[in-house]
């Protein structure tokens, strides 16, 4: 029998970016809140400090900050006719764990989605008719929320983080130096852009020569010291080159540890419990009301925590899996296209281009930061006419070195031997003299790409693993080939470039062993119709109105950009609805 605890007002499952921002927004209410985190507590000081944090082997190669797949993995198959096998080691994507979640090891790449992203189905049909969506078998949907509704929340999150950048469009006025393709923003970024890398400066020259519109990548690793509206202080980034897969020792990266936790953990109404593995959302006999959650504590003891509001805010996989394990919402059936939980799983479609320079061109990739890029949006989303092409969507093209880690950030020209003297000579010749360009593109949902529970493989608690059925849709394969060709043209035009090469990750079969992106999305998507979405525009379960499911699991398909800013805007939008409406009148918000 589980230990039954005293009821609280809100219980959060997973305590990363999503939960902590919602808890922060509720901290001035009288609500009693409990945050359950499966991992360990950790803080900038002493846990993230130098020199230990500057350890490529431990954090980047061995992935010390990621979900322990000894205990919890997922399984993967490329089509419904195959047997899924476990993802025994993380590769393509890296779900984080421990307090702060993936918000600790993110790169701080801080973008907004574009207006059309939220109404993708409608906008695509308006511009191109039905030919694309039908011919390509895409199941893209409108989100049920618009960019205009989210703009204040994007703005709010950017000012909480102190995001560094240059506006390209303020209230419809195009701004020199910014991204002319961006959706209108209400004001300038809170802090100016980061310093530009040499790699980025060469890319900028090439992009301008080719008629494109380069701008500095928006970054939540800050360019200058900043005090946010909550009075929290962030420091300038020092370009140490250990950002992605690492935690920031310098208080320069916006993260739960720097932006939300300092406020939440100070509240007498909030209690954090770490090393708590939640296994189920419990419901009453009607099935329409969540009564709390069941978890195992660090010592393996079963505990029931009653709560009036349950918030799931884990990595998208785990949100979806918790719904399926708790039998909440009708599971998606790809044969009939009916059901909602697991529907419209999407990813990110990416490639790399490398431009090789002479040995006297020192690009110094180790002087880096997570979001220090110079980039163009000329081929993002619907920024160009897709009429002549057989696909929708697009990719941003970005030049950046997040670091120069020698084990993993060490590209070599095509044809280089993989070992021996030839390899060694090539490493010595090319390290530090390679320009890096990334294509980071949309991922469209299809009927066949979805999530459910695996029939065979189980986690350390004996529960079924999540099963991913996914391969890159033909639409996305065409898209990334097109955008990679554009990136190769820019790479060749970088002054001094001797040779270019490319690696397209967005090709079939999807290779789960090679890192691509940790922007897994969908599976508990938002929308306007309970028959085609699991949550409404406030990320509130259609079936269980006192259950909220936060994060990128809400995305009906994925946009061009790194998604943290968008899911946090959704979460702040949800927080407002809970605080201003739900608490006064609990029940469906739509």
């Amino acid at each position: 029998m589980p230990t039954v605890l005293k009821e609280v007002d809100v219980v959060f499952v997973g305590f990363g970016w999503g939960s902590s921002i919602l808890a922060k927004e509720l901290v001035n209410t009288s609500l009693k809140m409990v945050g359950l985190e499966r991992g360990f507590p950790r803080f900038t000081s002493p846990d993230f400090q130098s020199p230990n944090i500057h350890d490529e082997l431990r954090f980047a190669v061995r992935k010390a900050m990621m979900q322990d797949n000894v205990r919890e993995a997922i399984t993967l198959r490329h089509s419904m006719s195959e047997t899924a096998l476990p993802v025994r080691r993380w590769g393509a994507f890296l779900p984080g764990t421990n307090l702060g979640g993936s918000g600790v090891h993110w790169n701080g790449q801080h973008f907004r989605f574009q207006e059309k992203d939220f109404v993708l189905k409608t906008a695509t049909e308006e511009r191109y008719g039905h030919k694309f969506l039908d011919a390509l078998g895409l199941t893209v949907q409108d989100w049920g929320v618009t960019y205009q509704e989210l703009e204040p929340y994007y703005d709010k999150f950017e000012y909480l983080c102190g995001t560094s950048g240059k506006a390209g469009n303020i209230k419809g006025q195009i701004q020199p130096g910014g991204n002319p393709f961006e959706a209108p923003r209400s004001r300038e970024y809170p802090t100016p852009p980061l310093k530009e890398q040499y790699n980025g400066a060469l890319f900028r020259k090439a992009a301008i020569e080719l008629g494109y519109h380069p701008y500095p990548q928006p970054s939540s690793n800050l360019s200058v010291a900043y005090t946010n509206p909550d009075g929290l202080k962030l420091k300038p980034c020092v370009y140490c080159g250990f950002c992605e897969r690492f935690a920031c020792p310098h208080y320069a990266k916006a993260s739960p540890q720097t932006v939300t936790l300092p406020i939440v953990l100070r509240s007498p109404n909030f209690e954090l419990r770490t090393q708590c593995q939640v296994v189920q959302v419990n419901r009453d006999s009607t099935g329409k009301k969540a009564t709390g959650v069941t978890y195992y504590d660090a010592a393996g003891r079963e505990v029931f925590q009653p709560a009036s509001i349950v918030v799931l805010s884990m990595f998208p996989f785990n949100n979806v899996r918790m719904l399926l394990l708790s039998k909440i919402g009708k599971p998606y059936d790809p044969q009939t296209g009916t059901g909602v939980v697991g529907r419209n799983y999407s990813y990110q479609t990416t490639s790399n281009v490398w431009s090789f320079f002479d040995e006297d061109v020192n690009l110094n990739p180790f002087m880096g930061s997570g979001a220090v890029g110079t980039m163009i949006d000329d081929f993002s989303g619907d920024n160009f006419d897709h009429g002549p092409y057989g696909f929708i969507g697009g990719a941003y093209i970005l030049a950046a070195w997040t670091g120069g880690r020698p084990v993993e950030q060490n590209p070599l020209p095509p044809g280089t031997p993989s070992w021996g003297k030839g390899w060694k000579d090539a490493v010595r010749k090319h390290y530090g003299h390679v320009g890096q360009i990334l294509c980071h593109g949309t991922s469209m949902s299809t009927r066949e790409n979805y999530l459910d529970l695996d029939p065979t493989y189980r986690d350390a608690w004996g529960l079924p693993l999540l099963r991913m059925t996914f391969d890159f849709p033909e639409n996305d394969v065409r898209m990334i080939r097109f955008c990679t060709d554009r990136a190769l043209e820019i790479g060749k035009a970088m002054p001094g470039s001797r040779e270019v090469s490319s690696k397209i990750y967005g090709q079939r079969p999807f290779d789960v062993a090679i890192y691509q992106s940790t922007h897994n999305a969908g599976g508990a998507i938002m929308g306007t119709d309970p028959n085609t979405s699991a949550v409404n525009k406030y990320q509130q379960s259609w079936d269980v109105p006192n259950l909220f499911v936060l994060g990128a699991s809400s995305f009906p398909q994925n946009g061009t950009y790194n998604y943290t800013n968008t899911l946090m805007a959704l979460n702040l939008h949800t927080a407002d609805a809970i605080r201003n409406r739900y608490l006064k009148n609990p029940g469906p918000l739509v």
Binding site: S45, L57, V70, Y239, G241, P249, M367, V407, V427, A513
Partner: protein, 272 residues
Amino acid sequence: MSAISRRELLAKVGVAGLAAAVIPKTSAEDAPTLCIPTGDQSVVLAQETTHSEHENLKSDRPEGSEPSESNYVFFNREEAQFIEAAVARLIPTDQHAGAIEAGVPNYLDKQLGGAWGAGERLYTSGPWEPTRPGLGYQLPLKPGELFHTAIKAINTELNKSGRAFWEMSPDQQDEYLHKLEAGGVDLNGVPSEAFFEQLLGMTIEGFFSDPVYGGNKDMVGWKMIGFPGAYATYYELIDKHGIKFEREPVSLGQSHGLFMPNPNIPAMSPHE
């Protein structure tokens, strides 16, 4: 190398000394521009071991109480002989240090003898099926088990043919490694390409990871390419485009106290 002959040394010191045999003798003698004091690290190790053995012989220690012949904790003698010979081909010694000088065998030994070898961060529940393109590693073997299994198969096969891997010429060794890499060789159930991938991957790790893990000795890998290691700030340098960064690299083991050299960016909690 004192009065002791190379043959005697090998016989006495076993594994540690055998590395000397796999390094082309010319590597130390013909390399005036070596970036480490002596090109032949393992010979130094062998000399030290020999020296201590001489002292031991002089002592009154009862028979059987001599110190270990090597500092390997995971590899047995034949495994170490294969590993030392193989990594010396994967990252050979030239005018720059190779895998042997970098201590890659020691790195592999400590990794495989520790948590990583025992399956850290590896989902190890069955059932097991052969992998398919895109699905990554699917063998039931943890890294330590994989190395034991594969190397035993290699050594057994080559012993039957009369010539151990470490007795082959460098060209023959390369040919054999290419065969493993190409795949299709069954190593006691381990597809050779799966073993080779981990052997090569971990060799590169041992060459380029921080020296605290037992490889990249004296940061020879970093010095070869110009990676500065664990410096914490390039705030003043990142926009000086094209400069050549020539400071000595810094290891995690060295950089205490250096981590916040810019006093204007204090390493303190903003919330304190």
